[in-house]
């Protein structure tokens, strides 16, 4: 009888502790997702605030979401490879990476045409050969939308919809938005 009572009490305590642990875990995962999304929003804004134009972009419905932008660092109006940046989702590593090509001093900096910029030729080059730096990790899926991408009157707004897979298989979705502020014309 004593063993039965002890087992019942131990079972009740164990289930209570499991419930509390699950609650803590879920709360922590939620907070982590929110903080990660906020960090990504800030990083995205820091990249895009000074950008002039958005070139090729893929919303992620077919293939991985990615975009390429031009930040005219020296304000000469000439689009060169080192001034371009790509932000792309990598489903293999579950990260959204920033890709850029660095050009050593003295080396030629290839000039890119508008066609290359808008058709994805340069984006593919940057993503495949450029230095990749993770902007956010543990993203289970990501989609992208760009409003007014080619507008000459309204600043384009980039919105990444990122999903985080939780341990209970549910998905937390967050929207990370940033807009371009630099003039499109030199």
């Amino acid at each position: 009888m004593g063993l039965v009572m002890t087992s019942l009490i131990a079972g009740a305590i164990a289930s209570f502790m499991i419930s509390v642990a699950r609650c803590w875990n879920a709360s922590e995962e939620l907070q982590t997702a929110t903080i990660r999304a906020s960090q990504f929003t800030e990083r995205l804004a820091s990249k895009l605030r000074g950008a002039k134009l958005i070139g090729y972009w893929n919303d992620g419905s077919i293939g991985s979401a990615c975009l390429i932008y031009w930040r005219d660092a020296n304000n000469d109006g000439v689009m060169v490879l080192s001034e371009l940046g790509a932000i792309a989702y990598n489903p293999a590593s579950h990260t959204i990476n920033f890709h850029a090509q660095t050009v050593a001093v003295g080396d030629p900096d290839p000039v890119c045409t508008t066609l290359d910029f808008t058709t994805g030729v340069v984006a593919t080059t940057l993503i495949s050969t450029g230095r990749a730096k993770p902007m956010i990790r543990d993203v289970s899926s990501a989609q992208l939308s760009v409003s007014n991408a080619s507008s000459l009157t309204v600043a384009p707004t980039v919105a990444w919809v990122v999903d985080f897979q939780e341990s209970d298989s549910s998905v937390v979705t967050r929207v990370c938005t940033a807009s371009l502020r630099a003039p499109a014309t030199p």
């Binding site: 707004t157 549910s170 940033a178």
Partner: protein, 175 residues
């Protein structure tokens, strides 16, 4: 006939082995109930708080998204080809070309059909107000050089309306 020899049995030692009285059982039950109710109350409170936090985080995400979208628009309408805003009946946000177009915006975000989380099952109302002011904290003035963007996201349950404000100034965004 001989009398049977009486069987002698050892005396039963009853000290300390008696059962519980009804009163003791009742007191124990009441104490246990109070304890269980207290624990359940704490768990329910924690669960409610977590739901509320999740909804508020989602509301913040939605509010920041719309605030950023509005702030990306021009302060003043274009010199020509101005599109009407929400208040004038134009609900195509992609056509909005200045921040005032968003004034009065009121949209519903429906629950997700393939819901995996609690927030997916809720309906959200998102509203926007744009007030022009002479100074950042001054009175409302349609010709002011400042504007306060207020975005409010109201969930159908679990949390209070979430409000986000952003101050913008008259600047020309040259594209």
């Amino acid at each position: 006939m001989a009398r049977p020899t009486p069987v002698t049995r050892p005396a039963i030692h009853t000290k300390g082995t008696r059962g519980f009285t009804l009163g003791e059982c009742l007191i124990a039950s009441v104490l246990l109930s109070v304890t269980v109710l207290g624990v359940c109350g704490a768990l329910t409170s924690a669960s409610t708080q977590m739901d509320s936090m999740e909804v508020e985080a989602y509301c913040l995400s939605m509010a920041k998204q719309l605030t950023e979208e509005i702030a990306a628009r021009s302060f003043d309408p274009p010199a020509s080809g101005d599109h009407a805003g929400w208040s004038a009946g134009n609900h195509q946000r992609t056509q909005y070309d200045n921040i005032a177009d968003y004034n009065g915006l009121n949209e519903y975000i429906d629950p997700v059909s393939t819901a995996t989380r609690m927030t997916d099952t809720l309906e959200f109302t998102r509203t926007a107000a744009v007030e022009f002011r002479t100074t950042p904290t001054g009175p409302v003035n349609a010709a002011g050089n400042f504007a306060v963007i207020t975005v409010t996201v109201t969930p159908s349950a679990h949390a209070e309306p979430f409000r986000l404000r952003r101050l913008v100034a008259r600047t020309t965004i040259v594209r």
